[in-house]
């Protein structure tokens, strides 16, 4: 078995090396002249994201607008992971015995106080990453992971019950669903206004205070990023809770 694996891995490696090694065929690393970098697609994005959407961060613009449909399904993938992990590991215990708090499960005073200090800052930073994703690295997904991490930190420093009191399992599910509904809602709104799915430009007709399709795209992108953040935050927390407690959703590590 090990020998077979070795042969398979070696063959794959040789094929891949064959693909990248031919000098006149495979573009060198870092050349601006490779077909990928010279293609009309990539040039279009660099030149026109700011014209079409007013977003300086090209990655955010391409992610949330040009290829927004991919991103919607990226959010769905996260949602599927949450549902799937719940479906696979969750166990329902009837009349579970109340947990006995012993000395070594009592939260440590230094850790809890540090967390008290840190968690608001982390959450603020998460919101900053979300809101500033249009002009600096970041966006809904990164912000969502950081926000989820702040809840995970609560669960680590105290225990999962304390964290669940602030953000219960049901609330997490509802938030994750709402995230996708927000995203799909922006898509459907453009359908109802008579344009293609996810064609945010048309939303300027109903968005107060926005007069150009470009700014409508700008704000709609912020909207869908908020949707992504909802889903990612709640699912990250949910996954941690389920994995850390073997699906019991109580007590914690």
């Amino acid at each position: 078995m090990k020998k077979l694996a070795g042969i398979v891995v070696f063959t794959v490696g040789l094929i891949l090396l064959y693909g990248v090694s031919s000098l006149d065929d495979f573009p060198s690393w870092g050349t601006p002249d490779s077909p990928a970098n010279k293609s009309p697609l990539s040039q279009y994005f660099i030149k026109n994201t700011i014209v079409d959407t007013e977003v300086p961060n090209m990655v955010t613009a391409v992610l949330a607008d040009y290829r927004g449909y991919d991103t919607m399904f990226e959010t769905v993938v996260i949602f599927v992971a949450g549902l799937g992990i719940f479906a696979v590991v969750r166990v329902f215990e009837h009349g579970g015995a109340s947990r006995v708090v012993t000395a070594d499960t009592k939260p440590d005073i230094i850790i809890t106080n540090t967390c008290r200090l840190l968690i608001p800052l982390i959450q603020l930073f998460a919101l900053y990453v979300l809101a500033h994703g249009h002009s600096s690295p970041g966006g809904g997904f990164q912000g969502g992971v950081i926000m989820g991490a702040s809840f995970i930190l609560v669960a680590l420093a105290w225990d999962l019950d304390i964290a669940l009191k602030r953000f219960s399992e049901k609330q997490a599910f509802i938030c994750s669903g709402i995230g996708i509904l927000i995203y799909a809602g922006f898509g459907l709104a453009s359908v109802f206004l008579g344009e293609e799915f996810l064609n945010y430009g048309i939303i300027h007709k109903i968005l107060p205070g926005v007069d150009s399709p470009e700014m409508a795209r700008y704000y709609a992108m912020l909207g869908v990023e908020i949707g992504v953040m909802f889903t990612v935050t709640s699912i990250m927390f949910l996954i941690y809770g389920l994995l850390a407690t073997r699906g019991k959703m109580t007590a914690g590590l």
């Binding site: 078995m1 090990k2 694996a5 070795g6 398979v8 891995v9 794959v12 490696g13 891949l16 090396l17 990248v20 090694s21 000098l23 495979f26 060198s28 690393w29 870092g30 050349t31 601006p32 990928a36 970098n37 009309p40 697609l41 990539s42 040039q43 279009y44 994005f45 660099i46 030149k47 026109n48 700011i50 014209v51 079409d52 007013e54 300086p56 961060n57 090209m58 990655v59 391409v62 992610l63 290829r67 991919d70 990226e74 993938v77 996260i78 599927v80 992971a81 799937g84 992990i85 696979v88 590991v89 002009s135 600096s136 690295p137 997904f141 470009e214 996954i239 994995l243 073997r246 699906g247």
Partner: protein
Amino acid sequence: MEEFIQSRFNYWIYVILMMIGLWGMISKNNLIKKLIGMSIFQTAIILFYVSVAVKSETANIPILPHHGHDYSPKIAFAHAVSDDHENGGHDDHAGHQAHPVGPKIPDPDGYANPLPHVLMLTAIVVGVATLGLALAITQKIYREYGTLEEDQLLEKVRADDHG
């Protein structure tokens, strides 16, 4: 020689990392080790895509500097957009290069290619979703069979099938 290494080194390393990951996935006995291999494998692919997007000598990160006057969208592009509308909508974006506002149009060679970055953001998300689901299945296997070693696991499964 140095140039040759520079032009190929990223790709060689990505192939080696991918081989390491694939080998971990196929031949490791412990299920969690397999998953670490899987993550290494996926990360290697992301490394490949990111390497494709690099423009080494000239390029900046794919974010327009929005504090300077040149790229301030309101000032520089109001011009370009209004001209564009006179020509009838978005028909003629390729013509921007020859436009009088030339320096204000971002130079394609000056920024890294944003498209692979976008694709890889999605791939990272898919990777963490797969990892989470796989860990959940691992926990279920451990709950049911009490082991994470593949050989012991297959023995127990065989006993299940015959018993």
